[in-house]
Symmetry: C2
Subunit: 347 residues, 2 copies
């Protein structure tokens, strides 16, 4: 049997309340009393029962984080950032994955699976505004990612349109004139909308034609999808001189196909990805990518949930995290390694 406050109180010869005061670092306890109680706590190996505390306080100290999938390393890295940020605030993270499927996202958003949580951070893919509007749930919800809803929920994201424009501008500045977009779209939802918009806007403002034949729709967001999209463009007879992919895995899948087709990166086709995933830094050709500030996203998401929990904030906030373009070999031209034993790891 676990030892309870009562046991400690009996052992120390004081009341339950006094022990509680010590455990909770209550201000007005005499040092002598504190020491005495602490001795009993140590002697009995007392550890507070969180379930009871939760029942009483109505808080659990647990934040749920629901991401589409961990197979995409961006989300794995984001999860790490959220876990660390939560730990800073003495909270713990319950992790779930939705597969980017609407019904899973709806379930998660209503906290069906995990009802022990104080708050919820969700990165939706297919979820609609209506699904969210129907949400009858009082735990605070914070949204992450590219989808934007006109609803009273905090949203943390980078400026996707601007980021996409930066990527495309970079390609154009290298002399590319036919920039393909490999992006995820399926069904009604259009998760890649903002990045596609940025692609379109930048091409237009550069005076280049916006050619929808160079936009490849995909079913998912993985390597295989990027590869399939690239094959689609090539077999359609198109030969773009640049590819801007929705994310890094898709960019890498595309590069794999380009390689198989005997097209060189970046000489024949320059490639830019999105997310700046660690994997992109170690391929035969390192990948230029838009790098969102994941650490900031994680931190802001956690702080946002906690602020709402504390009741300090009432207004809905759209928070922009930073981003920057990290230029590597897939656009900058092939550099050759100095065979002097130094290892060059592009940052």
């Amino acid at each position: 049997m676990r030892v309870s406050l009562k046991d400690v109180a009996a052992h120390a010869g004081v009341s339950i309340k006094t022990v509680s005061n010590v455990v909770n670092d209550y201000q007005h306890v005499t040092p002598a009393m504190r020491a005495r109680v602490q001795r009993s706590i140590d002697a009995l190996g007392y550890r507070p029962n969180l379930a009871a505390r939760h029942l009483r306080k109505g808080r659990t100290g647990i934040i749920a984080l629901a991401l589409p999938e961990f197979g995409n390393p961006y989300f794995a890295e984001l999860a790490a950032a959220v876990i660390d940020a939560a730990a800073e605030h003495d909270h713990i993270v319950l992790l779930d994955h939705t597969g980017g499927r609407r019904e899973q996202e709806v379930l998660v958003s209503q906290a069906f699976r995990a009802r022990v949580i104080d708050g919820l951070i969700l990165s939706p893919i297919e979820l609609s505004a209506d699904d969210l509007r129907d949400r009858a749930e009082d735990v605070p919800l914070v949204l992450l990612g590219e989808r934007e809803y006109d609803l009273p929920y905090d949203h943390i994201a980078i400026d996707n349109v601007a980021a996409a424009r930066t990527a495309v501008r970079h390609l154009i500045s290298l002399g590319c004139r036919e920039v393909a977009f490999i992006g995820a779209r399926r069904g009604n939802s259009e998760p890649a909308e903002l990045r596609l918009r940025g692609w379109r806007a930048e091409l237009t403002s550069a005076g280049l034609s916006v050619d929808d034949g160079l936009v490849a729709a995909t079913d998912g967001w993985g390597y295989g999808d990027g590869a399939a999209a690239m094959v689609g463009i090539l077999t359609a007879g198109r030969r773009p001189d640049a590819v801007f992919a929705y994310n890094d895995p898709m960019a890498m899948g595309a590069m794999r196909v380009l390689h198989e087709w005997g097209l060189r990166v970046p000489e024949d086709v320059a490639v830019v990805g999105f997310d700046d995933v660690v994997e992109g830094r170690f391929g035969a050709v390192t990948l230029t990518s838009v790098s969102p500030d994941k650490e900031a996203i994680g931190r802001l998401a956690v702080e946002s949930v906690l602020a709402r929990l504390g009741g300090t904030t009432s207004e809905v906030r759209r928070i922009r995290a930073g981003h920057r373009l990290v230029e590597r070999e897939s656009t900058l031209g092939r550099r050759h390694a100095a065979h002097d034993g130094t290892i060059r790891v592009p940052s």
Copy 2:
């Protein structure tokens, strides 16, 4: 205010117990009564308070999973497997990462950070047997991964020695005679011990010399570590004709360096990784790898925790999950893609 059992009972004009019976699918409730209560539940939108249930039952339905890092895609994929397996059993997963650092692993093993959990699945790197022996904690612990301890905790893993031997045997069968081992070792702990032992055993039984100059120690287990290790071997003037890496990221880092040095894979150097991570399937040269059955590992780990929780098992179990060698281009020789529009994704 949330609606409680009492509210529902009042609304339905029955006792609390009856409502509880309905909520918990208790057998002996008349259908009429069940319907009536259910109507009140729906009308009021009642949802059970888990904190209260936990307090009463002493169970939370939460399993903690502590992994070294999610940056390594193997662990990301493993996390997904555990989450799914737990969901099958109506349990939820609390995720934590240790960074593979001993003090973090000790903390986690004692459930310090997360005291709301029914059980714990831990994949240790540096943790010592003594650390574990000192563990004064009653929540069931299940261990994952290559480290083996002679302690009363269930352990789920593949047969690392046999798996490593298979990998090395494959390389030898291709005519390789100088097989380097790129593995993680630092401080006193030797996480790569079993795989290194397999490497040694297979070389010996093939009548090849075991050359410690071909064993590269590293600080971590990432791309950069693999790259650095490869640079170390090459700058030492060694030219192995094969590399067996502790894991896929390290293998990919090594391949990157081989590429920079103008060495072709697999013509000059064949490479085998470990973990069969999805990333390995899409590089310019796809990676041959030992593929552990992650799905089985996740499932067995969850079942192991729950069995111990149910008190059905008392004996300590060492469970072996399956593995197989997936042969791809990094050993099998470069195949050229058929430019017929079909996309070939090596399984």
